[in-house]
């Protein structure tokens, strides 16, 4: 009896999967229409806002906070590539006196995944610097920074795209004498893109 139920359940699953796939196939037609005017290809300025989380060894010292940043991006020729320029302000506190402020400034290259959907998936990688300030020492300096990230966004009209982003920031101090730690931060955020025509 139970076996029979199982078989029915599996059959139902397959059915719904087929329905979903066929719906998806039908809708690509609709998307294809809109793709002719893909405003996402225009130059963009944007802002993001969300939890910034210290990870790995950095998580031992400071806690997650809520901050954000901004960016500008341009398409490169006809390739699915964009170049971008990002900056943000991130201030981390702890239960005690320790505080960490990071202002990353970096350029990055974004590759839009060739998926034929109105939702744009982008992978990105970049490099730059970060101004790092620590308390209670009240010491600060610029450190080199590398980053990897992922974004997805969908259009909300001609001008605006709304998206989500996850970035991993690596702040490199390993080259400094006596250093045994580097900075690790994961930024997640809600992003608002403005597609502007130049």
């Amino acid at each position: 009896m139970k076996q029979k139920e199982k078989v029915i359940r599996v059959k139902l699953k397959v059915f719904w999967l087929l329905v979903a796939i066929s719906l998806l196939c039908i809708s690509t037609d609709v998307f294809a229409q809109r793709k002719k005017a893909d405003y996402f290809l225009k130059p963009q300025v944007g802002i993001w806002f969300g939890p910034v989380t210290p990870v790995f060894s950095t998580a031992d010292d400071v806690d997650t906070a809520l901050w954000g940043g901004g960016f500008v991006r341009f398409n490169v020729f006809a390739l699915p590539l964009k170049v971008g320029f990002d900056s943000s302000y991130e201030h981390f506190k702890s239960e005690g006196v320790k505080e960490l402020t990071v202002i990353p400034v970096y350029g990055n290259l974004l590759w839009r995944l060739p998926i034929d959907m109105p939702i744009a998936f982008q992978l990105k990688a970049g490099a730059g610097s970060a101004k790092v300030t620590i308390q209670p020492d009240n010491a600060s300096q610029w450190d080199p920074l590398g980053m990897l990230g992922f974004e997805l966004s969908f259009p909300a009209g001609k001008w605006i795209n709304i998206g989500l982003r996850i970035d991993y920031l690596f702040i490199y101090e390993g080259y400094i004498k006596g250093a045994s730690k580097n900075g690790h931060i994961i930024n997640t955020g809600l992003t608002l893109y403005l597609n502007i025509g130049i």
């Binding site: 320029f85 006196v97 020492d137 080199p144």
Partner: protein, 452 residues
């Protein structure tokens, strides 16, 4: 467009190269600390375990049973505590939250436990601001527990009966003992003063740092906090009515009431937990050793205070001949005890009425502030006690009394000696008994200071 792309790449490259100008390992500094905090339970500062006076575990009314214990005394059944338990909620330096961590530790009442043998227990601590002057460390103490507390009650026949040992929750577990932290709430016991009941002395316990603490960049320092516990505890009494309505008492161990005397039937003893803190750099310390004529304490203080003014031991210890030493008390007429005869009762009640009349007149008399002045003079005198930063006790080495004082920062000091006979159990030295002053300059390395 291609040109523009080049600009962007060029810009990113410049920014990246600019980032490589840092010289400090900031993330290491963020997680590291310049400050090591050590807490000890001894009057002595030395880490030389021989130069720390051994526990005297005698239980007797003249020594470790306080004179405020007046009910249900059965000496032979009271035992010296075996375990000391501490629960610290937080530690601050002035108002900086340098150690926002709950820390719990248990020390055995023995001469080999790190808390009592000079080694100390390390407290977790974040960092301090370089270049900032700190004057005090604040310990937010949640619990201080000694075991071997007892409970007694007087039954219907007037016989003292032992009851279950008092229990208390320590570190989320029920243990035998009494948390004397809860009675450390008063500077002065006086119900005539409005603030008598709400001055908590251990949340925080503010411990002055002798000479202050200032850490420069690239310096690492040790902050040594000493709570005076070893050879400084006594048995006290807490009166109450038990669940069956019988008069009952707890007998519990707590810090000595040497500074602020606890009277019979007093509940509170705030201000008696004494502490001192000092700072040293590990790479700039000396060891001082020497001999003395008799057994006692060798005490050293910096020759100058933090403002550069010369100072002596009189700036630290108090004098029990001072008019503000004795606690001001309006004493009831004696005898205040009932006796079994009818004359005894009549005498008692007559004197009690007389006391009430006298007390009312007294309140009228002192309502002009004079009583408050007396109390304030007493209180401020007691607060003026400073404990010396450097102390060692002598030990007998084949007939010669020797001492070793470790971790002495280099500089100019005044050394003193006080004999054991002048420091009975449960007390600290009186300034009159501290003598043999020597002005000494201590250099990094080994130094010798002998007392004849």
């Amino acid at each position: 467009m291609k040109k523009f792309f080049n600009y962007i790449v060029f810009f990113a490259a410049i920014v990246t190269v600019y980032g490589c100008t840092g010289k400090k390992a900031l993330f290491d500094e963020l997680s590291g600390s310049r400050l090591t905090v050590i807490i000890k339970g001894t009057f002595e500062s030395t880490t030389h375990s021989g130069s720390i006076k051994n526990w005297d575990t005698t239980v007797s009314p003249s020594q470790s049973i306080d004179d405020s214990v007046n009910d249900c005394i059965t000496d032979s059944s009271e035992q010296f505590p075996a375990t000391f338990m501490v629960d610290i909620a937080e530690m601050r330096m002035d108002d900086d939250e340098v150690s926002n961590y709950r820390q719990v530790f248990t020390a055995q009442v023995s001469d080999t436990d790190p808390f009592f043998n000079g080694q100390g227990v390390r407290l977790k601590c974040d960092d301090v601001k370089p270049g900032k002057m700190y004057n005090s460390v604040k310990l937010y103490i949640r619990k201080l527990i000694f075991d071997n507390a007892t409970q007694w009650y007087i039954d219907a026949n007037g016989i003292v009966v032992p009851d279950n040992a008092p229990q208390v929750i320590f570190h989320e577990e029920t243990v035998n003992g009494f948390d004397f932290n809860q009675v450390l709430v008063n500077t002065f016991y006086d119900t005539l003063k409005q603030n008598s009941a709400d001055i908590i002395r251990v949340f925080p316990l503010e411990i002055p740092i002798d000479g202050g603490l200032i850490v420069n960049e690239d310096e690492e320092v040790v902050l040594e906090i000493r709570l005076i516990i070893k050879n400084f505890i006594k048995l006290y009494e807490y009166d109450f009515s038990n669940d069956n309505g019988y008069r009952a008492v707890y007998h519990y161990w707590a810090v000595s009431d040497w500074l602020r005397d606890v009277h019979p039937d007093d509940v509170y003893m705030g201000g008696n937990l004494l502490g001192v803190a000092r700072v040293y750099r590990k790479d700039k310390v000396a060891t001082v050793s020497g001999t003395t004529g008799s057994s006692g304490y060798v005490i050293a203080i910096p020759a100058k205070d933090m403002y550069g003014n010369p100072q002596t031991i009189a700036d630290y210890f108090l004098d029990d001949d001072n008019s503000s030493w004795e606690r001001p008390v309006y004493k009831p007429h004696s005898p205040s005890l009932q006796t079994a005869t009818i004359e005894g009762y009549l005498d008692y009640y007559l004197r009690y009425e007389q006391y009430k009349v006298g007390y009312n007149a007294f309140v009228d008399d002192v309502n002009d502030g004079s009583y408050e002045d007396l109390w304030n003079a007493y209180d401020s005198y007691k607060w003026s006690l400073r404990l010396p930063p450097l102390v060692a006790h002598t030990y007998n080495d084949s007939g010669t009394q020797k001492y070793t004082l470790t971790n002495v920062p280099d500089g100019q000091y005044r050394f003193y000696f006080v004999e054991d006979v002048d420091v009975p159990y449960g007390t600290l030295p009186d300034v009159d008994n501290v003598g043999s002053e020597k002005a000494v300059t201590i250099n990094v390395g080994s130094n010798i200071v002998n007392f004849p």
